[in-house]
């Protein structure tokens, strides 16, 4: 029951006008704040808005928590680096590799999903962690990734003042597209099937949901977007080392963003990414404090899990909702009580009605 309510509330907090304003603000941000540090933060944050929404599209909707999305992120990233080098692409042309990078990540997701989605709960989480470590190990040891010495990406010769802008607007395109896709999926039959699997997979299967194809499609879709985001990210930071491309903190950051805002909601992961990623980037800029962001992340994670287990948005929506419900309750029984009183027929109904009205007051 709580599951059902969770799905419907956050939409109310997303009126169309607000969304339009948000998109407009994001669009003019690099024109107003031309400082490279600010646009730098902007690009990375948009990448994480995309990834957190993509993660949520699979894990939030289906209930299968993946701690291995870095596999898809890193696959997309390495594909872009290698393809740009081997096909001699540079400048804007490299951006055309993003859909291909996504496709490669989606291709990887098929066998991984076929193995991992056979098990549930803890075992699924652990298998995704194992896939992550296999990927990291492969990146450190394979020749194509340059091993632990890493690979460099050709840096485009764009004007330094507006250097970040192409990345920023491609990132914005990805982020807006992913959020729009999340809305579409949530309202579709496919989204309903995913949520049914989340609430009770056996019952959903009993009602005719073909669980495996549904789960796998969601994973592949999520991997596709995550791969594109990884490719954009690696082109932006212009270097690829196994320990950064396949970073366990990446997985946790994405999960925390979704949990922080509200798991399974559309707006939740966006809010989480908008709040948490700039915070982390800022912390990383502080000298000699590399451990600080780890500790803070851990503490924040515990606070969210212990005190806001459903995330900021659903909790806020529930609070607003209960306010509204209380006001409604003040009126509703009154009307019923009045109706019963004017009717004057049902002796049992009148005291019941007045009693409710009394308690509501």
């Amino acid at each position: 029951m709580t599951g059902m309510r969770r799905w419907h509330m956050p939409d109310r907090g997303l009126p169309l006008a607000g969304v339009a304003v948000l998109i407009a603000v994001v669009a003019v941000f690099p024109l107003v704040f031309t400082n490279p540090t600010a646009t730098n933060f902007g690009v990375i944050t948009l990448v994480f808005v995309t990834v957190a929404s993509a993660w949520n599209l699979f894990s939030g909707f289906s209930g299968y928590l993946s701690l291995g999305h870095a596999v898809f992120y890193g696959t997309g990233a390495y594909f872009l680096v290698v393809a740009a080098r081997d096909w001699n692409l540079d400048g804007i042309a490299v951006f055309w590799l993003l859909p291909l990078a996504g496709a490669v990540a989606a291709l990887i997701a098929v066998p991984l999903g076929l193995v991992a989605l056979r098990v549930r709960r803890h075992t699924f989480v652990v298998i995704t962690i194992a896939f992550f470590f296999i990927a990291q190990l492969s990146a450190s040891n394979l020749k194509v990734t340059g091993g632990s010495s890493g690979l460099l990406v050709p840096v485009p010769n764009w004007a330094s003042a507006t250097y970040n802008n192409p990345f920023y607007y491609v990132g914005m395109l990805l982020a807006v597209g992913t959020v729009a896709l999340s809305v579409l999926v949530r309202r579709s039959r496919f989204g309903l099937q995913l949520r049914a699997i989340r609430d009770d997979e056996d019952r959903a299967a009993g009602l005719g949901v073909r669980a495996m194809p549904v789960k796998l499609s969601a994973l592949v879709l999520s991997a596709f977007i995550t791969g594109m985001a990884g490719a954009l990210w690696v082109y932006f930071i212009a270097e690829a080392y196994p320990q950064f491309v396949f970073d366990p903190l990446f997985d946790l950051a994405v999960v925390l963003m979704a949990f922080f805002g509200g798991l399974g909601t559309v707006a939740g992961p966006v809010l989480g990414a908008l709040v948490l990623e700039p915070t982390q980037l800022w912390l990383n800029l502080q000298p000699n404090n590399s451990y600080l962001s780890e500790i803070l992340f851990g503490v924040l994670f515990l606070v969210v899990i212990l005190f806001l287990p459903r995330g900021v948005l659903p909790t806020a929506a529930e609070y607003a909702n209960s306010e509204w419900a209380r006001k409604l309750a003040l009126r509703l029984p009154l009307r019923r009580g009045q109706a019963a009183a004017t009717d004057g027929t049902g002796t049992a109904a009148a005291p019941a009605g007045s009693e409710t009205a009394g308690t509501a007051r």
Partner: protein
């Protein structure tokens, strides 16, 4: 070559027992509390650092230091359970507890970085350098000591589980928590103590790991937890005996593969796990259905 292989097998079996001990703690916690303590890896590293502090600053022998680190890790485990695991209830408990453990791991890792930095340190004593001659090869004494410690600790674990009233309460809680509550078992207390015991073994595991691994950093927790998870999944969650067999088997295979493919030997762990789960989703010795919701 033959001596290399036999040496790898010996080191694998002896080292595997240490992994078996750490994995036993992990699987015990899973069996009783139905949570995966992904902080187990960093707790082993924490145990190793505790031993390091005691031996460097207080000049305590590593084995004597265990008298302090084992109770310390027990208390840390109980505290983690009481503060962060116990309050979590409801339908999302499974994923929430896992993430809570991850958060604890992150905090511990950050604190260790802060205190000790990212440089490799290792534990040393006379028995980490002295070697013993077995058949046709030499092995550091610490391997035998670690093996002995692991056997004693696992035996103690079995004794507690199968020969004491508390152990009976633990097994009852493992089988059916509601029924255990009904017959008057304080499930919260049992859970806290179990979490403490599962964590206390990391003090021993950490000491031996710190001595035989040739150096560790706060980052070593990831390497450890990935192996431990592979072991317990392969064995089947909640099966302590299975964890022992799987740990010894996997580390031995890894040590042998390491002779030819040092870069890829760790992959043996994951590959074995993926292959087993493809054909047998409950793991080799799993009693619980891993597929059940």
């Amino acid at each position: 070559m033959a001596s290399e292989i036999s040496q790898a097998i010996a080191a694998g079996i002896l080292g595997g027992c240490v992994y078996a001990l750490m994995a036993a703690g992990l699987t015990l916690i899973f069996g009783v509390l139905d949570i995966i303590n992904v902080a187990q890896g960093i707790l082993v590293v924490l145990g190793a650092y505790l031993s390091y502090v005691l031996s460097v600053h207080l000049h305590l022998d590593l084995l004597v230091g265990l008298l302090i680190t084992v109770p310390a890790m027990f208390i840390i485990g109980v505290a983690i359970y009481w503060l962060f695991i116990r309050p979590l209830r409801g339908a999302e408990r499974t994923s929430m507890t896992l993430l809570a453990c991850f958060a604890v791991a992150l905090i511990i890792e950050g604190v260790l970085y802060r205190e000790f930095g990212a440089n490799y340190v290792s534990l040393s004593a006379w028995y980490t350098t002295a070697t013993v001659h077995i058949f046709d090869f030499y092995l550091a004494d610490i391997y035998l000591i670690g093996f002995g410690l692991a056997v004693v600790a696992v035996a103690a674990l079995y004794f507690i589980l199968y020969r004491t009233t508390f152990g009976r309460a633990v097994r009852a809680t493992m089988q059916n928590q509601v029924a255990a509550r009904l017959i008057g078992i304080d499930v919260n207390r049992v859970s806290a103590v179990t979490f403490g015991i599962g964590t206390a073994v990391t003090a021993i595991g950490g000491m031996v790991y710190g001595a035989i691994s040739g150096g560790f950093t706060p980052n070593s927790g990831y390497d450890l937890i990935s192996r431990l998870l592979a072991i317990v999944i392969l064995a089947g969650m909640g099966s302590i005996g299975g964890a022992l067999v799987a740990a010894v088997f996997m580390t031995t295979v890894e040590a042998v593969v390491d002779i030819w493919q040092p870069d890829w030997s760790v992959a043996v762990f994951y590959l074995a796990m993926v292959i087993i789960l493809t054909f047998r989703p409950t793991g080799l010795f799993g009693r619980r259905a891993a597929r059940a919701q």
